[in-house]
Symmetry: C2
Subunit: 385 residues, 2 copies
């Protein structure tokens, strides 16, 4: 299907954020025509898409009308109107990932149930409809502290998750349909990114290790590859493969996992698309997660996922206390550092902890890279004008 290259065929992306922008950057090398739907005319993709449509990807009519103008449809965010995608499939459009996969993953309750039904290792959980149900289960002893509560829908970038350690935390309980999981004794959090094409061929990137910012619940630093033994890495990659096969997903996906202190590997959550934990593949691996996604959904051969050198990735987050028109401070500290690669997403407005960009640093010594990353986290800041 090389006719997606330099042809009139179009790839449509639902969502115009940074993941979409990096898909466009990958596609631009191969002259693939990209169309994007996003409600924000100032989103990251707007200046780079061949065709940009302002509209809500959660709206049935908007997605249907947009989808009818393209040949293949993919997503860069889960929160899209899957009824419209089903209708587009009926009309003969190619949709990857499928609406069924998106529906399974975007609802955390359905997602966890899917793992349990398919015997895929994950932590215990309960699905509850309201805050009152959580409180009564605590009273009856069915739920014991400490636990984690997550909104089933619409949670994103650390929002919609609370950790309840003591009775004093109960005032933070979330309203609505949520899942409750026991607080797992985590040794490390890792992520495995995989790609799979229509013929079932699968490629697995080496697992990466994530350190989280406890305040923002966002990745603070990502280490690639993860500092785990080979046996563990290979088990994690196998678990990832089982997930992508069970879902029958075509495209790229991320499987985030907990390594517990007891030595278990538990699936935390997954994303049916390129993911924050794969940004470093742009520079550190032979072909990036974005390129793999295009290869998988446009029926090209999958590329090599070999890692060329160790790398770390840090998210560039809006600094606390600043809101408004973005103003980057000490950019030159990043640009002058050997091995560093700065990616800014082109968001015009900053707010505390908003993902404004990321930095990948490649090199030979992981401890040196961590030190460099910590230095940049201190000096490079996202303030407002």
């Amino acid at each position: 299907m090389s006719n997606y290259i330099s042809s009139d065929k179009k790839l449509g992306i639902l969502g115009g954020g940074q993941l979409g922008k990096m898909l466009i950057q990958a596609a631009s090398k191969w002259d693939i025509t990209i169309c994007v739907l996003d409600p924000n005319p100032e989103c990251s993709c707007a200046p780079y898409a061949h065709e940009f449509t302002v509209g809500k990807f959660s709206d049935y009519e908007a997605v249907l009308n947009f989808g009818r103008t393209v040949d293949v449809i993919t997503i860069e965010i889960e929160n899209v109107n899957t009824d419209a995608l089903r209708k587009l499939q009926e009309e003969g459009k190619i949709v990857h990932p499928s609406p069924e996969v998106i529906d399974t993953i975007k609802d955390k309750g359905r997602q966890k149930t899917f793992y349990r039904d398919n015997e895929l290792s994950t932590s215990d959980f309960k699905i509850l409809n309201a805050k009152d149900d959580v409180l009564s289960k605590i009273n009856s002893g069915d739920i014991t502290l400490p636990f984690v509560q997550k909104l089933c829908r619409e949670g994103y970038d650390g929002r919609g998750v609370v950790v309840i350690k003591s009775e004093g935390d109960l005032e933070n309980l979330l309203e609505g349909e949520t899942i409750i999981e026991p607080l797992v004794d985590i040794d490390k959090e890792i992520s495995v990114i995989l790609s799979r094409n229509e013929s079932g061929e699968i490629n697995v990137f080496p697992p990466v290790e994530m350190e989280f910012n406890p305040e923002a619940n966002l990745v603070e630093m990502l280490l690639a590859p993860a500092r785990i033994d080979e046996n563990f890495a290979s088990k994690a990659m196998d678990l990832g493969k089982q997930v992508i096969q069970s879902l029958n997903l075509v495209g790229v996906m991320a499987v985030e996992m907990f390594l517990t202190k007891k030595g278990e590997i538990l699936i935390n959550e997954t994303a049916p698309r390129p993911h924050n934990s794969g940004h470093q593949t742009i520079e550190a691996n032979e072909s990036s997660q974005y390129e793999q996604h295009l290869r998988a959904i446009l029926i090209f051969p999958l590329g090599s996922v070999d890692q060329k050198s160790p790398a770390i990735m840090i998210n560039v987050l809006g600094s606390k206390g600043f809101e408004g028109k973005v103003d980057y401070k000490e950019v030159n500290e990043v640009l002058k550092m050997k091995g560093s690669h700065l990616h800014l997403y082109g968001k015009k407005e900053t707010r505390p902890f908003r993902k404004m960009g990321h930095i990948t640093i490649c090199g030979n010594d992981i401890d040196d890279l961590i030190e460099k990353g910590n230095h940049l986290k201190k000096v490079f800041r996202v303030e407002a004008k």
Copy 2:
């Protein structure tokens, strides 16, 4: 001057070809606003520039009006209206490379005279105004066969150059102002790419080796690094530095050189911009020639030019016998090859020997890379629908 990042400031590029497109790809990572002027609304840059203006970069008014809408102006082709650039400089715009440098380089007679005046090693030459002058100098014995004749202006991508080996070749002599050089006994042709910023800091990429297609006079395969001894490499890099310093050029430039069988290094010609002989730096070096150009002209620190692995580059040229709407054949042969990186420029129409894209192959063993490159040159073809 980090205010070119995520700001209202604009970088304007004269010319919308592949070099411009690769500059946009580099700039997109840093959220720099790019505006492009090109007469062809279907040029490589058109879909990716933030603002695209249809107009001739050789036209005074077109360049002046375009330049007034941006803050910094650069080029991706030499054949631009430098009078308009001088006017824009007077009006306070930043122009890199300077109009003087462009004027010196775009006329091959002035270029060669510049080397001679600055004692920069190059082959002998004569500047002549017309074909008849060449013929009479041959008759008088002032010019002896074999020699090379080059148009002083407008030569591009192998056009405007003839080699006269015997009297029978004289019918190919070019009309107009030309330079005549003795045919040098070439051992290798190499290229050195350099960047220099306003404070005079210079970075030099390792020399690369070019094998030419004798029919098209275009680079057939580029080997990075060049297979020459360190002493030679270091001399070539020094010569490159002398050239960029003498020109007082800010930005990236390419200095193409002959290594003669006698062991001399002679400047062949230069380009005051990113160059075909630096495409492989995108994947093979820590920061690419395109990134270096942006760093140099926007007053960021220059990046590391270290080469990460050996690489070869082949140009993807329009196949002989095909003209019209482009149709790539056997794309998958490229995409499935480990280490290969395909770049297509998005030109809609092909013609014999037109530069349609390039392929970089990275790996550890240069002989293996040459073999892979030769394989792709055979199987991957650019035909017409």
